[in-house]
């Protein structure tokens, strides 16, 4: 059930109307049922898998609470991790590793008699697996208490706004809200509607239109350098609009129901360094990787070399989390190397005057954007040879054609509203003016919201693509 479909609009309308009439327990029962229906419309066969991991993690949580033996708690944690990562590995990575094994064999002239299993990938498995893992690890660490109600825990796992593509929530944040009665306020409703309008705008206007340009560029074998560059820019816009759009709709629908989901994107293309980028892009994943992978690996506590290695390993695994493909691994590795290099060239605090930073800021933003874009080329390329060929085309065969000029104009018109939205947020945050101009902000939002609705109506792609991150 895509957010950008009438099926979802109808579904949410019915669920929301019922939600408004129910008490807390009734709301949670409704949310659990809605989560199952929402997930079941993708493929009802995987509901069993979702429920199985939910039950195991719930039982493990209770088991750890009832035991004071560290050994037993470790054993329970191992069971939960094995179950969650095992199902993820089986459904997502099994064929990938088998294919890689066959490829490796061929390199040495050995034809291995291995046939890929061809399992379907359960939608959202990477997201809900990480969310469940965070729960059992936090319970094991004593950071959160186990949830005693199976219904509440199941709502935490199957909460439909963020079930299939995040944000990856933590028990300390979302489960607490599930357990507590929610309060719906007009401010929350306004915020929710704003996020939903922004989300749909980013998805059906920006991402789906940019996707047409990106697809055409990446699928054209004879394009010029200008086509290649525009294709990469278009994909940068597409993936941001797609994923941030989804996150906004998820946060908005949750806000209408009185929930507060974590912010997943914070103007990522205004980042000035690799570490700044990951503080702004897919925040729920980057913080998950930090808390459950990077820090347990040693973080930055074991010297500079080990820190760099930890960064690279964490990002490599983060890349593989996105998909069972070497180009995702390469993308992760690339970002890991960027983060490691970023630490090396980080200037010491107070080394330069403040005005120097202001002068350098736009240059650093542009540089970081282009470094990110090369990462997107690795992420999107049809095969890895494109990652080499595109830069060659840009350097050696760059000229504007009529089509490239038209595409550039269109891309510009798609990018301008994103720049305005993110630029305004960035500026407001930097100058701290958001709180001081609340009335003006409301009026601006009203006007911007109406314009975005008009754009969704006029320019939105009907029967658009499914969200990119659903495949992860």
């Amino acid at each position: 059930m895509l957010f950008n479909s009438w099926t979802f609009v109808f579904f949410f309308l019915f669920v929301y109307l019922a939600y408004l009439r129910l008490g807390h327990v009734g709301q949670n029962r409704l949310l659990f049922g809605a989560g199952l229906v929402f997930y079941g419309t993708w493929d009802w066969r995987f509901l069993g898998l979702l429920m199985a991991t939910t039950l195991v993690d719930y039982w493990v949580g209770l088991g750890m609470a009832g035991s004071s033996s560290p050994k037993k708690r470790r054993l329970l944690l191992a069971i939960a991790i094995t179950t969650n990562l095992g199902s993820l590995a089986f459904f997502k990575y099994c064929d990938f590793f088998l294919d890689s094994l066959v490829g490796l064999g061929r390199l040495f002239g050995i034809e291995l008699p291995i046939v890929p299993l061809g399992f379907l990938l359960p939608v959202g498995i990477s997201f809900y697996t990480f969310q469940e893992l965070s729960y059992v690890i936090d319970v094991h660490r004593g950071a959160v208490a186990p949830c005693r109600s199976l219904r509440d825990y199941a709502v935490y796992v199957t909460f439909f706004p963020q079930l299939v593509a995040g944000p990856i929530e933590r028990a300390s944040h979302l489960l607490r809200q599930v357990v507590q009665p929610r309060v719906i306020t007009w401010a929350g409703v306004r915020q929710g509607l704003w996020l939903i309008v922004c989300g749909y705008f980013l998805k059906v206007v920006v991402a789906d239109n940019a996707a047409r340009l990106a697809d055409r560029s990446f699928d054209a074998p004879d394009g010029t350098g200008a086509d290649a560059l525009l294709g990469i820019y278009a994909f940068a816009l597409q993936i941001y609009g797609d994923f941030a759009g989804y996150s906004n709709i998820a946060r908005g629908t949750a806000a209408l129901m009185g929930f507060d989901l974590m912010v997943n994107f914070r103007q990522p293309y205004f980042a000035t360094s690799p570490s700044d980028f990951w503080r702004r892009w897919h925040i729920s994943l980057s913080t998950w990787l930090r808390d459950y992978l990077y820090i347990p690996l040693g973080g930055n506590r074991r010297g500079p070399t080990r820190t760099q290695a930890n960064l690279i390993v964490t990002m490599l695994l983060g890349g593989l989390w996105h998909g069972a493909n070497w180009r995702f691994a390469l993308w992760g590795l690339y970002h890991g190397i960027l983060l490691a290099l970023g630490r090396l060239v980080r200037p010491a605090a107070g080394a330069r005057p403040a005005w120097w930073g202001a002068v350098l800021w736009p240059l650093r933003v542009v540089l970081m954007f282009h470094l990110t874009c090369y990462g997107w080329l690795l992420f999107r390329c049809n095969d890895l040879s494109q990652a080499v060929e595109f830069p060659q085309r840009i350097a050696g065969n760059f000229h504007w054609t009529d089509r490239a000029s038209l595409d550039a104009t269109m891309l510009l018109w798609l990018a301008i509203p994103v720049l305005l939205l993110d630029g305004a947020s960035e500026l407001a945050q930097r100058l701290g003016v958001a709180a001081r101009f609340r009335v003006g902000q409301t009026m601006l939002r009203l006007v911007a919201g109406l314009l975005m609705l008009l754009a969704i109506y006029e320019l939105g792609v009907r029967h658009g693509k499914q969200f990119i991150y659903f495949q992860f």
């Binding site: 479909s5 807390h24 507590q180 008009l454």
Partner: protein, 380 residues
């Protein structure tokens, strides 16, 4: 990390929602219900107000004027439903067709020929621009209620192929969607058709179209805006339309699809199109419903350029063979490129001859196909 407070304990100590929260929820509930009801009512009122002029008529001559709109927009044209749909004492001939029948005045010309022949036939025009096989199906189910002497399906090959998808014509166009959900239609549509063709998504999409016909309104209202604003700007300021589209995209239909996709749609790819995999089942279901209602059918392949292949006629003829009251006629050989605006639409000067050919084919089919028992309507 948060403090390890028990989440269950949090629940027991949490402040229960206040009366204020209940008031917000109650207000929201009624607000959403009222807004939905108002939206549905307004949409239907607007539809009622706008949709009777699916094709403008020249008041001086009484002729239907063509409205050439690009394909790819939902419900670009509504099927014309003639007021005198079943005049007493005449034999109704229901015509299901595409833009040629709907906008080129062919049906009106055929009616003129019928009047000259003694006025025994009344042509009922149910043509819809860009109609595909699934649209014909919905219109047919609606049309059998008129107990026509003959049901004519004027088509081009593309109408029976998924290639229409490439032209951004969705498989279920708005009007067919909505008609399928009319109570008199949905009861007559074979279960196998609904089961095969509808998914949860397309079904709900159609249901929304029925409740809130925004798709139909969308195109009609855009078209009004287009006429009112877009062309005056282009014509008076002599600005390149492409630039106006960028600066002022509101009145342009499906801007981005026009811009990005259609420009590059390779015409040669039409040759690779194949008929719907379920063509046989579709035609069988179509003919069966007609047979149950004792309505003879004429599938009339319109004049069309050769590049409008693939040739679906062999498959169509095979599917129609078991039905005694179904005929298939091919008029493609009458296509002369200089007489046509494009691959299917005749020039004004060629329309009389076009109508005469179709009229003749219909008369021949009437001779060959015996009429059903008057008033017979069975097989509900």
């Amino acid at each position: 990390m948060t403090d390890p407070a028990s989440l269950s304990a949090v629940a027991s100590t949490a402040v229960l929602p206040s009366a204020g929260d209940r008031a917000v929820r109650s207000t929201l509930f009624w607000l959403i219900l009222c807004a939905t009801a108002i939206a549905v009512a307004t949409a239907h009122w607007l539809q009622h107000r706008y949709t009777f002029v699916s094709s403008p008529v020249d008041p001086a001559t009484g002729r239907v004027l063509p409205r050439m709109m690009p394909h790819g927009s939902y419900g670009a044209f509504l099927p014309r439903s003639d007021a005198a749909s079943n005049p007493p004492g005449r034999q109704p001939i229901v015509l299901l067709g595409n833009s040629v029948y709907q906008t080129c005045g062919i049906v009106e010309r055929m009616q003129g020929l019928a009047e000259a022949d003694g006025g025994q036939l009344a042509f009922v025009n149910r043509a819809q621009t860009g109609a595909g096989m699934h649209d014909y199906f919905a219109h047919m189910v609606k049309a059998v209620d008129l107990r026509p002497r003959l049901l004519v399906v004027a088509f081009i090959d593309l109408a029976f192929t998924p290639d229409y998808m490439r032209w951004s014509l969705p498989r279920f166009r708005t009007d067919a969607d909505q008609m399928l959900f009319d109570s008199d239609v949905v009861l007559d549509v074979p279960w196998s058709f609904l089961h095969r063709e509808f998914t949860l998504s397309t079904g709900l999409d159609s249901l929304v179209s029925s409740l809130f016909p925004y798709k139909r309104l969308d195109v009609l209202m855009r078209y009004e805006v287009d006429l009112g604003l877009y062309w005056p700007i282009v014509n008076t300021l002599h600005v390149d339309p492409v630039i106006v589209r960028v600066l002022f995209p509101l009145p342009v239909l499906n801007l981005t699809q026009d811009w990005v996709d259609r420009r590059d749609a390779p015409r040669s790819a039409q040759g690779r199109a194949q008929p719907w995999p379920e063509l046989h089942e579709l035609v069988t279901e179509f003919a069966t419903v007609c047979q149950q209602n004792d309505v003879p059918v004429l599938f009339l392949h319109q004049e069309a350029a050769s590049e409008m292949e693939p040739d679906v006629l062999p498959a169509l003829r095979a599917a129609c063979a078991p039905f005694a009251k179904v005929r298939v006629v091919d008029l493609r050989s009458a296509f002369v490129r200089t007489q046509f605006i494009d691959q299917v639409h005749p020039h004004e000067a060629a329309r009389d001859a076009y109508a005469a050919r179709h009229y003749k084919a219909i008369l021949q089919a009437l001779e060959e196909l015996p009429a059903g028992a008057p008033g017979a309507r069975s097989g509900k």
